[in-house]
């Protein structure tokens, strides 16, 4: 196991593709907790997130031979997992993908310094409290770094729908963040 821990992503991917159990365990040890957190961010429910993470890792084991070292193995695994989660949400028809009208009311956005003081777990909770569709688009855009064009393709929606849903997600999250700051006197 000691040798496996030292090896690079591409070597690990090759060993996993060959069916090496130690390599698979190492891949799991390296990325499972991260992928689990990623799934929780998207679906909110921990049990469902764990199932989806397992499905994603099984898919990663089966397709890791396709990994190209243009990016990190972690990013590649995250991409596989995001696709799996999106696929699940689309199939379960849980996302309401209708464009929203922008409201006239302007909610004051929090300052960067204020946001930086909030613990990660609280941020996770606030994002988790967003409605499903807004949460997914917020994660795709702000965390994974996909463009509205990519998101539109992934969710089969218009770019405008994606941007309007993100706007709503930001509004709601800003309100939650400000409430937290006010309550905790940050």
């Amino acid at each position: 196991m000691a040798e496996i821990i030292k090896i690079e992503d591409i070597e690990l991917a090759k060993l996993c593709a060959r069916g090496d159990d130690k390599a698979r365990k190492e891949l799991y040890t390296r990325y499972a907790a991260y992928l689990y957190a990623l799934c929780i961010r998207y679906v909110g429910d921990k049990e469902l997130a764990r199932d989806l993470m397992h499905d994603a890792i099984i898919k990663i084991f089966d397709t890791v031979g396709k990994y190209k070292p243009t990016g990190s193995l972690k990013s590649w695994c995250a991409r596989v997992t995001v696709n799996m989660v999106i696929d699940h949400l689309r199939k379960s028809r849980r996302m309401d993908l209708v464009p929203l009208e922008h409201t006239q009311e302007k909610i004051p956005e929090p300052q960067n310094e204020e946001v930086a003081k909030i613990p990660k777990a609280e941020l996770m909770r606030m994002v988790g409290e967003l409605p499903e569709t807004k949460r997914v688009i917020f994660n795709l855009f702000c965390v994974e770094g996909y463009s509205h064009k990519d998101i539109a393709q992934m969710l089969d929606i218009k770019e405008k729908t994606s941007s309007s849903l993100l706007f709503k997600a930001r509004e709601q999250l800003a309100k939650n963040v400000r409430d937290y700051i006010r309550k905790n006197g940050l």
Binding site: H54, I57, V115, V127, F138
Partner: protein, 408 residues
């Protein structure tokens, strides 16, 4: 470029890791093993499907292909080229015995075209490959030779073309010079499609049978009999204490009965010996399920699972007599659960079950159209499914089928 407040949230969330339960890796391993098993089953299903399609294509090709036996016109034309072409460069000499023809020809070596299709020479025809000895002396003799060649050809055809019924072709060479009378014009040039339809019933047993897979002696109190359909819970003599105990954990025990099956099948004859057998089989699995709770109470339920299956099998006829056939076959069967209940509650089984089977059959043809058959077969289940049945306990099952087969 100035960061947005959501970028800070994004960076924070991107680095978060959520601790997993300690047994998560073993759970994942189990799921992975199940997923691989499912994929293997799907692969077998595809292989079975592709084999069936390939068999169907082979069957179609076989049916649309012209017969290997050339038509009479072809044979006559081939055997009787113009006289001046009778002496080819490449010849086969045949030593004709004097009694094979009633024409008056001295026993001698003669020439016939090499194109004569010598499939199976009979004992009284000797083939020698000595081209040097033969000469064609006279034109008259050539006519005699041609006549005799027709006679030989007929004999060869009788040997080659009628191997099934072994009928002797008797030919009077004097009646028709070209021998055309012997070949009816309406002889079919294509093979006939033969189809058999069967009705069968069967009973199964495992070669490593264990009907009672657990000891069902109740720890205390009475136990409901296996035939009882209603769920019955029997408490310990201390009901108050028993109620206080947790019923969250229990073990399940099953007693499986011999499955009962019946179905219809169709057999498509590709050749005289090779055939494809397919159809629809209904199978009912009945079991008694006993749940033994941690407080030593138990609950009996009757379970019924109904499957519909489609077998595809290739059969090879070993013995093919008028009143008796013996054949061997191998194939694949897909079974889909159509209805399942336990203690009156519905069970759902989405998985399609696949199995390999090999069969040995005996058929007694009572009349040419109707045959009585017995068909012991052994099948191996490739996947178990989620519902516990006789099949999931014993992957190898021997089934004895019996039924009627109607031949068309």
């Amino acid at each position: 470029m100035m960061e947005d407040w959501t970028d800070i949230i994004g960076e924070e969330l991107e680095s978060i890791e959520e601790p997993l339960p300690a047994d998560d890796w073993s759970v994942l391993q189990r799921k992975y093993a199940a997923s691989r098993k499912k994929k293997r089953a799907a692969l077998f299903a595809w292989a079975g499907g592709i084999t069936s399609v390939a068999a169907a294509i082979a069957l179609v090709l076989l049916l649309i292909r012209p017969s290997d036996v050339p038509s009479n016109d072809d044979i006559v034309a081939e055997q009787h080229p113009p006289i001046e072409e009778v002496v080819p460069t490449d010849t086969v000499s045949i030593d004709t015995p004097s009694d094979t023809s009633d024409t008056v020809i001295p026993k001698k070596k003669i020439q016939i075209p090499a194109s004569v299709n010598v499939v199976k020479p009979s004992d009284d025809i000797l083939i020698a490959q000595d081209n040097a000895e033969e000469q064609v002396p006279e034109e008259e003799e050539i006519f005699e030779v041609v006549k005799d060649t027709v006679s030989i050809t007929e004999r060869l055809l009788a040997d080659a073309g009628n191997t099934n019924d072994k009928k002797e072709v008797t030919k009077d060479n004097q009646t028709d010079y070209w021998g055309l009378d012997d070949f009816p014009d309406d002889e079919p040039k294509r093979k006939r499609i033969k189809v058999s339809v069967g009705l069968s019933g069967s009973a199964s047993a495992s070669p490593i049978i264990k009907m009672y897979d657990v000891n069902l002696e109740p720890p205390q109190g009475d136990m409901t009999g296996p035939g009882q359909k209603d769920s019955t819970e029997v408490e310990t003599p201390e009901p108050a204490r028993a109620l206080m105990r947790s019923k969250s954990s229990y073990t399940e025990k099953y007693r499986h009965e011999i499955p009962k099956s019946f179905g219809v099948s169709a057999r498509l004859h590709i050749t005289d010996r090779l055939s494809i057998n397919t159809g629809l089989n209904y199978t009912r699995y009945a079991s008694d399920r006993t749940r033994i709770f941690s407080d030593y109470t138990y609950q009996n339920d009757r379970q019924y699972v109904h499957y519909l299956g489609i077998p595809v099998r290739l059969d090879w006829m070993i013995v093919n007599r008028k009143h008796f056939n013996f054949y061997l076959g191998a194939g694949i069967q897909a079974d889909k659960c159509i209805y399942a209940t336990v203690g009156g509650e519905r069970l759902h089984e989405k998985e399609v079950l696949f199995g390999l089977n090999g069969a040995m059959g005996l058929q007694f043809n009572i009349v040419p159209m109707v045959g009585l058959y017995f068909e012991p077969d052994i099948s191996y289940s490739l996947n178990e499914g989620s519902i516990q049945t006789y099949r999931s306990r014993e992957p190898f099952v021997v089934t004895v089928r019996g039924g009627l087969r109607f031949n068309f």
